[in-house]
Amino acid sequence: MTESVITCRNVSKIFGPNPAQHLVQLKADPGLSQAGYVHAVRDVNLDVRRGEMLVVMGLSGSGKSTLVRCLSRLIEITGGSVTVEGRDIATLSESELIDLRRSKMGMVFQSFGLLPHRSVLENVAFPLEMRGQDRSTRYARAREMLELVGLKGREDYFPRELSGGQQQRVGIARSLAVEPDIWFLDEPFSALDPLIRREMQDEFLRLKGMMNKTIIFITHDFDEALRLADRIAIMKDGRVEQCDTPDQIVLHPATEYVAKFTSEIDRARVVHIGSLVAPLTAPATGEPVAAYRTIRDLARQLISDPRVEIPVINDKGAVIGSVLRQTALDVLLGDAH
């Protein structure tokens, strides 16, 4: 498929007094656990493709934030390698790293990370200021960004004068000011109450639709993940248990843990009919259905449709195969056993 923008190979991060030595000891004795050491990320292999939205999920303390901070080298990794656009970021010098962040990366933080002494406008213009852009250009750009996130008219406010949702919009505007190719979002909405959160998700989907960025999004809210993700990576105790499309995760959980994690989910709402497609055994008969529709969307039709096999078409209208009605009904109603 498309090239990968970020590649992780065996990435490990250990917190503690002497992490490198601890990693070596761990190689010899994987079961080792020593006081004072936290193995926050373990042997993660991940490829993030250009333009995709990868959602990282997991319980609190599973290492999501740590992983993302490894990808942007906000923290140094203990083992393995992280490659961004073909360059191993561990080998970058300080100025190269600064360059990479100035030109390619943006990040939104869980508790916003706004500078309290700067107005909203100055906060959004901050990354541009770091690049040495002159005042009027950067303020013009910052105003544009603020308008994009719906904060026009609040330019002169200070962060403490805004609500949580508004502050997070400032964070989003700031991270977008430099037009990053890679956008990291660390639980951007979890500090917000449910109503505003919903609103922010819609806002986010709108923004996402307007641009073509590689996005890495952390959340521990499954519904949020399902609404947003192209692929989901599920983490547990620092390991990535499974990284796949939402359909595959609910249909074919790779481990016990993932199965348990997803057991409460209404699978019919997640699974697209396209992911159940099998090659045609006989020529297609009757009206086909579109691959992007979910089983829940098609529930009425599935129940009343008399056919055994239903043909499926892709978004260009070509038939890509068919789905056994029974398989689809199993997803809808749960397995027979």
Partner: protein, 643 residues
């Protein structure tokens, strides 16, 4: 609990040994009663040798002279501007009316009308009372010294934050520096620079740096990690991160540091009159020495007003939260405060031009309340003299002299064992060793008797302060309004330079030990009251409710719930109280005591650095030992309470 029981066992043993030594004092060899000859080390000579080396061989003299020349030049500039000393730039003096208006506008802009009136009013009072020149002499030193200290403190704070190793080296130095009495700083400065305004300015700079370092470090450490990460992701370089993210985010702490610097400067500059610094301090010293009560009260009021103004202005600045301005297209409206200020200044200059009264209030035009105050005080004193006389007699014959004799009677080995017992009871072997080490050094300094007199004065004063202060605080903590009022008084009183406290006590008791103790008691009671109230007010209400529901009486709640919960906070107060008393006892020495302070004053007048520093360290060690014990104790209490 096992550990503390074991501590108690050893402590009791040590205590028994100490008591044994006291009981058998008559048969003890002389070497166990007073530090024997061989134990007393010539620290003073060593320090003098080091200083001689620094001064002559290392050529440090040239460096300090160069630095002090810069300071002197700056002092001349401010002196010219503030009170028209004829030096470059020969523009001054700025009319007092302009300065008062500026102070008013600063107060108004930072907090509002009230602060404006306080700060403007202070300068009007100073001018009208004919104290302008003295006050400006004092202020010009602060204007020069504070920026130096702030810069120095900021740089050292940043360095300490960058390098944990440097922080580890700096921390004990700061602790000692903050426990050294004011005079200990003056002696080396006199050696290197001599006496006069520039020596006063330099001693002020050195004295006021430590809190700035501490606050800078604290502020930088408190900056939230996400703010830094956001800065890094914005592509900030290290320098950009420091100057545009970390330091501005630590703004409040750093400005509180500035506030502390300025208050320390004021305290020091008043005391620097002992090394020939002209200004309010010197006037006050002269007036006090000649017992001119009315005039010294006038000066005292000025110093207090200045302290309150400087403190409130800088605190308001530090605690100001950013607020957006309603967008307005007009430059005039956006900068209206600036415009009003400029207009008022122009008015001031204009008035000063036509009416010299607004430029400078001549001595003969000055108001004075000294006459009425003297008259009033005469009345009051006549009224209460029987009481004060009796109190004086009672305290001296029944408390002070017996206590002093008792402290002096103790064999020094018994004192060391006693301290070891206390140390062991609180923190085990380590604390016991620390206590013995600090007092062992004091014994080895050869100033044992003097030190014991200082200890006795401090002990007596702190005990009296606690007896008076804690009930007051308990009463004050009953209702929030009362608590607020008392806290305000305490906060204000804490900003006064220590020197001020001597005015009323000399007024009441004259020049003697009782006056010293009274001054120290008042000075020490302030933190005690303040922290007790804070401790009591911060007891979680659910706990009190739970006790109420268990049917506890008010006294029971106080005794079993509120006081134990408040104890850790009260201990912080006690700690400050001891520190303050140590400083005050030393300062009060010029009234006439026979303790370390008096020797320090002698060292100051004979510029004996070695002796001065040895005495200074002796005082610092007493402070550090108390600090160690109280901190340890309060930590154990906190852990026991699960706070």
């Amino acid at each position: 609990m096992g550990r503390s029981e074991r501590y108690a066992g050893t402590a009791k043993l040590l205590l028994a040994l100490a008591v044994g030594l006291m009981l058998f004092k008559t048969v003890l060899p002389q070497g166990m009663i007073r530090p024997p000859e061989w134990l007393v080390l010539p620290f003073a000579d060593w320090i003098n040798a080091v200083f001689a080396f620094l001064q002559n061989d290392l050529g440090l003299m040239a460096v300090t002279r160069a630095f002090s020349d810069v300071v002197e030049w700056l002092l001349n500039v401010t002196a010219n501007l503030l009170y028209g000393k004829s030096r470059w730039p020969n523009l001054g003096p700025i009319p007092w009316s302009v300065i008062a208006v500026t102070a008013f506008m600063a107060g108004y802009a930072l907090k509002g009308w009230r602060l404006g009136l306080i700060s403007g009013g202070t300068f009007v009072w100073i001018a009208l009372m004919g104290q302008w020149k003295w006050a400006m002499e004092t202020l010009s030193v602060i204007v020069v010294a504070a920026p130096f200290s702030v810069t120095l403190g900021l740089v050292l704070g940043v360095l300490a934050w960058r390098s944990p190793r440097f922080e580890r080296v700096l921390n004990p130095i700061l602790s000692i520096a903050q426990s050294l009495p004011h005079f200990a700083y003056m002696i080396p400065v006199v050696v290197f620079i001599g006496v006069g305004p520039k020596a006063g300015a330099i001693v002020t700079i050195i004295f006021s740096v430590p809190p700035m370092i501490r606050m800078t470090l604290l502020g930088l450490k408190k900056v939230p990690e996400e703010v830094i990460e956001a800065g890094k992701m914005s592509g900030a370089t290290r320098w950009q991160l420091l100057t545009r993210a970390r330091i501005p985010t630590a703004r409040s702490e750093i400005l509180i540091g500035v506030n502390q610097v300025i208050m320390q400067c004021l305290a020091m500059v008043v005391l620097a009159s002992f090394i020939g610094m002209p200004g309010l301090g010197q006037k006050l010293l002269q007036l006090l020495q000649s017992l001119k009560i009315g005039l010294s009260v006038e000066i005292g009021v000025t110093i207090v007003l200045l302290a309150v103004t400087l403190d409130r202005l800088t605190k308001a600045w530090a605690l100001r939260l950013p607020v957006h301005e309603a967008a307005s297209p007009s430059w005039l409206i956006r900068n209206r405060l600036l415009v009003i200020w400029l207009a008022l200044c122009a008015l001031g200059f204009g008035l000063a031009h036509f009416f010299p009264y607004f430029l400078e209030v001549e001595r003969k035009q000055a108001l004075s309340v000294a006459g009425p105050i003297d008259a009033l005080m005469d009345q009051v004193i006549r009224l209460i003299t029987p009481v004060t006389l009796w109190l004086r007699w009672f305290l001296i014959t029944w408390v002070l002299i017996p206590m002093r004799d008792a402290y002096l009677w103790l064999p020094f080995t018994a004192v060391l064992l006693l301290l070891a017992a206390v140390g062991w009871a609180i923190g085990g072997l380590r604390s016991a060793l620390i206590c013995v080490a600090y007092f062992g050094l004091i014994a080895a300094s050869g100033w044992w008797d003097r030190a014991m007199i200082t200890v006795y004065m401090v002990c007596i004063s702190v005990v009296i302060a606690a007896i008076l202060g804690i009930p007051l605080a308990i009463w004050g903590a009953r209702t929030p309004i009362r608590a607020g009022r008392i806290l305000l008084v305490c906060d204000t009183a804490q900003t006064f330079p220590s020197f001020i406290y001597l005015i009323p006590v000399i007024m009441l008791f004259g020049v003697n030990d009782v006056a010293v103790v009274a001054a120290v008691v008042v000075f020490a009671a302030v933190p005690m009251v303040r922290y007790t109230i804070e401790g009591l007010r911060n007891v979680p209400p659910e706990m009190i409710e739970a006790a109420d529901m268990s049917g506890a009486t008010r006294a029971q709640v106080l005794w079993h719930v509120r006081l134990p919960m408040a104890l850790p906070t009260m201990l912080v107060g006690a700690n400050q109280s001891v520190m303050f008393s140590l400083f005050m006892v030393i300062i009060a020495a010029f009234i006439g005591t026979q303790d370390l302070g008096q020797e320090m004053q002698r060292a100051l007048s004979s510029t004996d650095v070695g002796k001065g520093l040895v005495l200074g360290f002796a005082v610092a060690f007493m402070g550090l030992m108390t600090d160690h014990l109280i901190t340890r104790w309060s930590e154990t209490r906190k852990r026991a309470l699960g706070i």
